[in-house]
């Protein structure tokens, strides 16, 4: 037994998934082979599908919609999880003043505005000077332009986030800006930041200040794609604060900052070139006056919490699926009764029970398979529409693709219903011939 376990565990996951799908499908396939072996009931099956085609279409639609809901939900849920994780990928370690990790993660990674306490100049200087810290970027949010967040940071962070610009160049003065891939500004455009976000943003509040867009980032699949990234010095200056540098360094942008002229930042994105060092850095900055967290981990925790919801949802999906399966069975019973006269004719003509059985089962199987395939299409279409809506609303790139869980769901459903389809076939051949013939 352990040998088998290790053999299984040693297989590539794709192979495991494929084998599982096959195993789920197997009972239905075996039933089909046993029922249909040596027979060709298809001309009659086609005739049955053609008769009462409206009823058949409704039935296929019922299966398609229920399978589609299951497929769509699982694909969408996974897409959402993967998309949100991808958006957090570039945020290795976030250091901030103590508070809620989730609030800060939402603010820093997903640019959901909120008021958080600030990291001081001394703290920032300490972080930036720590061994193995290769990037310590202040992230200052709170302003917006035309609904797009204006975020202050450093050119290094922009380069890190974008992995190379799509066009133009990084900002080099406090009056320049880099647009996110889908930010509503054009290259060369001058923009005035507004204080705050959305309808409460105070128009013209920073009217005396304008950024010129010098570059555009490549898409990152995160809300940063709609943001406008500016030097953090600009954000400070707009708010009438010191700009992080001593007077003798006026006009300079980017680190090092002078702690005495550092107005504070809500969050610092910290990165080391050595992956393993992140853990040390996290524990180092986890202390009474600072907190440090991996957004990816916080997100994973969120996903775990939501995992219970997910389990409840899967349970609901399964219950729905079971109900639909029962409905499918009842529907097949009724549809089969509609054909009772034709089936009685076949038997009166001397058709073997096996043949009549195969005709009824083949008819059911055709409806189930067409419905399940249509359900796959319906589910993926629904998931892709939903994904696009979520992406449009949150800028988290969600792409719902066909995965093994969906294939397993469909394989299980098809297999189960193909087995259940034996029941109407069985009951059809057990009916006495003459009453059906007279009907």
């Amino acid at each position: 037994m352990p040998d088998v376990f290790w053999l299984w565990a040693g297989l590539p996951t794709t192979l495991q998934d494929a084998l599982l799908a096959l195993a789920l499908l197997a009972p239905g396939l075996v039933a089909g082979i046993v029922v249909l072996r040596g027979l060709s009931p298809w001309p009659l099956v086609r005739a049955m599908l053609g008769r009462f085609s409206a009823a058949n279409v409704v039935f296929v639609a019922l299966i398609a919609i229920s399978v589609g809901i299951g497929v769509g939900l699982t694909a969408q849920e996974r897409g959402l999880r993967q998309g949100s994780a991808l958006a957090a990928e570039k945020f290795d370690l976030v250091v901030a003043a103590p508070g809620s990790e989730i609030t800060l993660m939402l603010a820093a990674v997903y640019l959901q505005p909120s008021d958080v306490p600030l990291v001081s100049g001394a703290q920032y200087a300490e972080i930036a000077a720590t061994e193995r810290v290769s990037l310590a970027a202040p992230i200052a949010f709170g302003d917006s332009h035309d609904g797009a967040p204006v975020v202050g940071t450093t050119a290094d962070f922009v380069a890190h986030l974008s992995g190379g610009l799509a066009e133009g160049r990084l900002f080099e003065t406090a009056e320049e800006a880099v647009a996110g891939a889908y930010a509503p500004v054009a290259l060369g455009e001058a923009l005035t930041p507004e204080h705050g976000h959305g309808p409460t943003a105070e128009d013209e509040s920073h009217a005396d200040f304008a950024y010129t867009v010098t570059g555009r980032m490549a898409p990152t699949g995160s809300p940063w794609d709609r943001a406008i990234l500016v030097p953090v010095e600009g954000v400070w200056a707009v708010h009438g604060l010191a700009d992080g540098h001593a007077p003798e360094n006026a006009g300079r942008i980017g680190p090092p900052f002078d702690p005495d002229y550092f107005p504070g930042t809500p969050a610092v994105l910290v990165r080391s070139d050595e992956l393993w060092a992140h853990y040390g850095l996290k524990s180092r900055f986890t202390r009474p006056d600072l907190m440090a967290f991996f957004p990816g981990t916080v997100l994973a925790q969120l996903h775990v919490i939501m995992g219970d919801v997910r389990a409840a949802m899967s349970l609901l999906a399964v219950v729905t699926q079971v109900l639909v399966t029962v409905a499918v069975l009842a529907g097949l019973m009724i549809l089969t009764r509609i054909f009772a006269r034709g089936l009685a004719l076949l038997r009166a003509l001397g058709a073997p029970l096996r043949y009549v059985f195969a005709v009824v089962w083949g008819y059911s199987a055709a409806l189930i398979l067409v419905g399940a395939l249509a359900g796959l299409v319906v589910g993926l279409a629904a998931a892709s529409v939903l994904s696009r809506m979520v992406t449009a609303r949150t800028d988290v790139l969600v792409s719902a693709t066909l995965g093994w869980p969906e294939l397993h769901l469909i394989a299980g459903f098809v297999s189960l219903t193909l087995l259940l389809a034996l029941l109407p076939a069985w009951s059809a051949v057990r009916r006495p011939i003459v009453p059906d013939l007279r009907a």
């Binding site: 049955m48 008769r51 001397g350 073997p352």
Partner: protein, 235 residues
């Protein structure tokens, strides 16, 4: 009775003895002390509506379960067989025609006529299709084999049903009011065809009808009234 030797004739002789059919409730539907028909001959079963004609035909085809007595086709005692064996007997030996045709409307004329090819042994399928085609030709439906059954007139549909009854080359043809939905002229033509096609190949033919005109065209006739036999011979 003509002196046709049984060996020359592919038809089967019918011998019914002490046949009693009861309804599920117990009511006696049919009581037949005896009925004989030599191989290759034709029999008209007449009688008023509700007399038990269809019931007799169903019993002769081995379709009924609550039956006592014996129905012998040649050497075969049909009622002593199991359901699968009765089905096998019908499949090999019996052609059935019904009052309202019972065609698969979504199949073509030829597919309906060759329905038995779907469940016959593979070795016989081609022959069944071939015979279905030539029967359709004989019945004036050649060249229409692709048209769906639903598109034919009643008289034509009944011809398709007859082609279907002949396609597997049965020894016996049992027809239950095959002309009921046809007008006089169409009914006469159909009966002529049915009789001719049966006689040519020496098949035994039983036709149930309340049409008195039928009696003159077949070798023998019986009348059933209220589940009982009233015998009478023709010619």
């Amino acid at each position: 009775m003509p002196a046709t030797a049984a060996s020359e004739c592919p038809g089967l002789a019918l011998s019914v003895t002490d046949l009693r059919v009861a309804a599920p409730g117990g009511r006696l539907l049919l009581s037949l002390p005896g009925l004989d028909l030599p191989a290759g001959r034709s029999l008209a079963v007449r009688g008023p509506s509700g007399a038990g004609k269809s019931t007799l035909l169903h019993a002769l085809a081995g379709l009924l379960t609550d039956v006592e007595g014996a129905v012998r086709w040649g050497e075969t005692d049909l009622l002593s067989l199991t359901d699968p064996a009765r089905a096998a007997f019908r499949r090999a030996r019996v052609g059935l025609v019904f009052q309202d045709f019972l065609l698969f409307e979504e199949l073509g004329a030829e597919a309906n006529a060759a329905l038995a090819a779907g469940f016959a042994p593979a070795s016989q399928r081609a022959a069944i299709r071939q015979r279905a085609r030539s029967a359709l030709d004989r019945l004036g439906l050649g060249g229409t084999s692709g048209r769906l059954a639903a598109s034919f007139s009643d008289g034509e549909r009944q011809r398709i049903a007859i082609a279907r009854a002949l396609a597997h080359d049965p020894a016996v043809i049992l027809a239950d009011e095959p002309t009921a939905s046809l007008d006089r002229a169409a009914a006469d033509r159909l009966i002529d065809d049915l009789v001719a096609l049966s006689r040519e190949d020496g098949r035994t033919l039983v036709v149930v009808s309340h049409d008195p005109a039928l009696t003159e065209r077949l070798d023998q006739s019986v009348e059933i009234v209220d589940g009982h036999l009233r015998e009478g011979h023709h010619a």
